[in-house]
Amino acid sequence: MAEYETHDFDVIIIGAGGAGLRAAIEARSMGLRTALVCKSLLGKAHTVMAEGGVAAALRNVYDEDSWQVHFRDTMRGGKMLNNWRMAQLHAQESPDRVRELEDWGALFDRTEDGLILQRDFGGHRYARLAHIGDLTGLELIRTLQQKAVADGIEVFMELKVLRLLHDADGTVSGLVGYWRPSGEFVVFTAKAVVMATGGVGKSWTYTSNSWESTGDGHAMSLWAGADLIDMECVQFHPTGMVWPLSVRGILVTEGVRGDGGVLRNSDGNRFMFDYIPPMFAAETADSEEEGDKWYDDHSAGRRPPELLPRDEVARSINSEVKAGRGSPHGGVFLDIASRRSAEDIRRRLPSMYHQFKELAGVDITAEAMEVGPTCHYIMGGVRVDADSTATTAAGLFAAGEVAGGMHGANRLGGNSLSDLLVFGRRAGVGAAEFASARTGTVSVDQGQVDAAISAAVEPFERENGENPYEIQHDLQSTMQSLVGIIRTGSELDEAIGKLDELEERAGRISLSGGRKYNPGWNLATDLPSMLTVSRCTTLGAINRKESRGGHTRDDFPKPVEEMGKVNFVQRTPNRENADGVGGTPSIGTITATPEPILVMPDDLKALFEEAK
């Protein structure tokens, strides 16, 4: 039996990005013993990378805005696959969640009459994004971090969670993991667990995501019996850096386009005018002149096509490059230098200025940037009840990127920060209420703990096995080339074969060094999650025989009405499994089943009729 320390709390939140911090603050405010565990140091989570802003119909810049318009924009951006109730709650509650940040010390940029300034972003009808230059995520995480510290919430940093634990009746009862600095194991028991682990992007070669985004929460929830939905819906952000190679994938904020930047091909043409889809034709400018008027006054013209939703822009860039009209390093040009003054650019986009200057040697106030699509966000995730964020596994809640449904098939920029505030708070409430109502002692099954620990240490006992870095590299190449921005049936089938091979290789990893701060070991324990979510994405993509939002099939290039009425729900047979089997469940057993999406009530449907 392995040795480990134990801790007991009412509510444990896994992940200390925006959603996890917001959940912890709420659960703590309700008087529960609350702990936050996170894989990195506090304040380093991926939320810190969010740049452009947080979307909320505050009506500080355009009084015409409302939650109804925000709701409609979100649903249309998501190609109507969204969980309508999540989109509604999000649009209704995000203004209060943003104002509350100000009560906790956040300092947003201001309008002339002293209120929170809002900027334009793709797919949002009105200027809606509260922001601080292009450093909004940093402000958000620091505000929540400082509030959590002030509230006395216990934070356990650099702790890698391996598995969720459950009671004899299948209710989630805690977690087992290890401290990355010491390599020692630790068990937490809890009456309720909130999953707030973020995304999955590290399974692709070119990604804006950090090493942490390995899909731990998606995978652990699935293994614990929760349903995942829409895992095929992955967002490729249209503008990542493309050069130098070492920075390829690093995000270039949509704020560049919101503030006037335009996309050009190698002929110098603003090609986005050639790619306006019928769904957005009525509200999109059809000449450069009209689009340019819109920046200063939204009633003077329609919005320029550079501000179409991200899926449209990413596909268009992809097509231009394929047609041989790309930039020297395989992207296109993003030009703000010729459109705004150097002073304006440095003030509104300080971090972009800094990033290009220092990493690429490019002065964005004088020359165009080279950009191309980068894996950025997964719309799919753990299926939740919109109001409580409860998953289909008792005792488990989920919020933020790890939860699915809110964004449908494509997320609008700025809707992620608001998502994690709205549903982070709701997860805190949901978990706290569940924990308060839970009776009996919370017990831990020794078999589950031992199985997870022995699976984790096994590679140290093996010699001349596989190198985890090579497996990760091969996984990334597989997902990039076969399950990327444009997909096709034969390649997806090929990807499943490769994933089978990779899973088999991952069972033969051998490691050197000890358990103490060993990144090779850390990666080896992240790989089961990466392989699981990659398979879920591929399975979903095989099943969704249409193109919708972030999911594009070359062999099914158009949306199919019937497909828009279902989610592909993924689960494993472990769902009914309460027998204490630990380790990594065989991921070959995951199934994808079409189930009807929630039906929108008539009063909300009417909003879409009005817009026509």
Partner: protein
């Protein structure tokens, strides 16, 4: 990383001299790698991990200079590994990467930075004034852009702790850590002091608990800040001035006793700020005179004036 991804630029090899070890000791080890165009130090470290030393410990997250995780000492200079391009280092020379010296080593390039998180807990939290009727109606506080920009500068901090690493008050004196908050947290206090909404008074606390007087403004922290925050000029020096005002001015002290005020009144600010500091320091333009809420700092503001034993160290600042 597999071979095909390595695309040598100028060609040739680079030698990375990396510290390997833990709290019990260790040594530098050399790793020879092919040179690749456009790389930063962190890229090379990752290639060393993937090909030669899978257990080489290194902390990182965003790889874009936004999270402040990959702090280290590169050729002796405290820097972010993700923002240090290889082509900015002397060509042909060995690149030495060591862990931050001020913090205990956990393993290889990773240090135990928990000191910083402990100091953060001791900073009295943000405490805003009440909203006016107009603000309640408008749905949020009203602040002008010019008034938020001073604190926004400090809120750019990514908590890489390079300023803490380079600060000689703790770099060379472990014993000072219990009584010194360090540049990162002086910037945090300055941010709160200059926040248009915050009503706490942190001046005496800064002197008594956080060791503001120990800083003798050598500006090392400003030099290494990857966010180019003017920590010394815009945070520490103004704080020193305010703290000294709080100590020396008997009328201000009496005023606080009688009126139960926290921050300075406009009259106090006008009487003390412009003449007392270097020209680079901006005068205090905030609106003060707001009643102090019950709380830790209000109690401290009401305490008798402290003794002045460490004031000599303040001399260069005033």
């Amino acid at each position: 990383m597999a071979e095909e991804d390595v695309q040598p630029g100028a060609g040739g090899e680079i030698t990375m001299r990396l510290w390997r070890g833990d709290e019990t000791g260790g040594e530098f080890a050399d790793y020879v790698m092919p040179a690749v165009e456009g790389e930063v130090v962190l890229d090379v470290i990752h290639r060393v991990q993937a090909t030669q030393a899978p257990d080489l410990a290194c902390r990182w997250n965003c790889k874009a200079g936004k999270c402040g995780s990959c702090s280290a000492e590169i050729n002796g200079r405290p820097s972010l590994m993700c923002m240090t391009r290889m082509d900015t280092l002397p060509p042909g020379e060995t690149v030495t990467v060591a862990p931050m010296r001020t913090f205990p080593i956990l393993r290889d390039l990773v240090t135990d930075v928990s000191y910083n998180y402990e100091v953060a807990k001791r900073i009295p939290p943000f405490n805003p004034r009440a909203k006016t009727e107009d603000e309640v109606e408008a749905g949020g506080y009203r602040m002008q852009q010019i008034d938020v920009e001073r604190s926004q500068e400090f809120r750019k901090c990514i908590e890489c702790f390079l300023c803490q690493d380079v600060c000689h008050v703790i770099r060379d004196h472990e014993e000072n850590k219990t009584s010194f908050a360090g540049p990162r947290f002086f910037a945090r206090s300055a941010e709160l002091e200059m926040h248009p909404l915050d009503v706490n008074d942190r001046r005496q606390l800064l002197q008594e608990d956080q060791g503001l007087g120990k800083c003798n403004i050598t500006k090392c922290c400003t030099e290494v800040c990857p966010e180019h925050i003017k920590i010394t000029d815009n945070a520490i020096i103004p704080l020193k001035e305010r703290a000294v005002d709080a100590k020396y001015d008997p009328i201000a002290w009496l005023g606080r006793k009688i009126l139960n005020r926290s921050k300075r009144t406009p009259a106090e600010a006008a009487a003390t700020s412009p003449a007392s500091g270097p020209a680079a320091v901006q005068p205090d333009v905030e609106v003060h005179g707001i009643p102090v809420p019950v709380g830790i700092t209000a109690k401290r503001a009401d305490a008798p004036a402290p003794d002045m034993t460490d004031t000599t160290e303040d001399a260069p600042a005033v």
